[in-house]
Amino acid sequence: MKKSIKTISLIICLIIIFIQLPAQGFDINKFSDPKKYGWDDYNDRAEYRKDLGERQELLQLYEIRTKSITYTMAKSAIFPGWGHYSIGAYSKGHTFLTGGVVLAGAGLYFYSRSQDYYKQYKNASQIDVINSNYDKAEQNYNTSMIFLAAYVILWGYNLYDSSESTERYNAELWNNLMNKRFDNVSLTPTGIEVRF
């Protein structure tokens, strides 16, 4: 019984394989073509290998210098602007950091004031003092919420922008590496440099 099942499954597999083979369209001429990679002689092959080696080196360089989006976003989540600093976007980093410090600072300052007035409100027993302290506490609390909401918006935008900037940074990094590779003649402070 077991033997017959094995035989049947083997037959089914063979049928499937034979059906699939012509479908792939195996081209024996293409397979045996010695110029399929565009190499006319040994020098072409050597040049191609050299080119491949250089590209692999570039890729290694790129992998070393590239920045992970998650990493920069995590940094920006901790301190707005920190992620931007790590990819060299100092102007944006300064803007986000300063904005974050100012908004969070103002928010906390007004929140602290509101809590002071709220404590006085809770301890008051005279109607005018109760109303006055509650109004001041509420006013400062609302102001603090406006600043903290603005901080949340800035923080969110900072996260978004750190992701976008990192993508741009990585793309520019690759382009720069490629440009440097093909740019053998460059103008340096000491004169013209030609690399072979």
Partner: protein
């Protein structure tokens, strides 16, 4: 991007609206059942006459109706806008007169009055009473003669 910013604004606004300061003071009429005491009216001042050895100032007022107050506070200052010190607590709502003879010397005296109500009228507690708005007498103050 715009959607993200809009979402953040909506979330922040919701947080702002959902949070707020509670009127948690038990003496706050906006947050509890306590009635605000009414303003004390009809306040009048008179002083001891010329040449009196024991000088005094008499403060009189119109007693507030039942339910509007449980008693009164009297404050005194030596100047119109100076610091007013509490000089008397009158725990009888029907009282309408108080004689101030504490360290009275020749010169001007200014007074303010307010009424108070207990949070729990059945169990009066001095730490749980709400003081109403302060009011001045009809005339700004009184000068105690020599």
């Amino acid at each position: 991007m715009k959607k993200l910013i809009k979402l953040l604004i909506v979330i922040s606004s919701l947080i702002m609206l959902s949070c707020g300061l509670d009127r948690s003071n038990p003496l706050d009429p906006a947050g509890s059942h306590i009635n605000t005491p009414k303003k004390v009216t009809g306040i009048d001042l008179s002083s001891s006459g010329q040449g009196a050895i024991d000088k005094f100032v008499v403060i009189s007022w119109t007693p507030l109706p039942e339910g509007d107050a449980n008693g009164y506070f009297i404050y005194r200052s030596r100047s119109y806008d100076g610091t007013f010190d509490l000089i008397a607590e009158i725990r009888n709502r029907e009282e309408s007169l108080y004689t101030d003879n504490y360290k009275i010397v020749t010169g001007p005296y200014f007074y303010k009055m307010s009424a108070f109500v207990y949070l729990d009228e059945d169990n009066p507690n001095d730490n749980e009473r709400l003081e109403g708005p302060l009011n001045r007498p009809g005339k700004a103050g009184i000068v105690v003669p020599q």
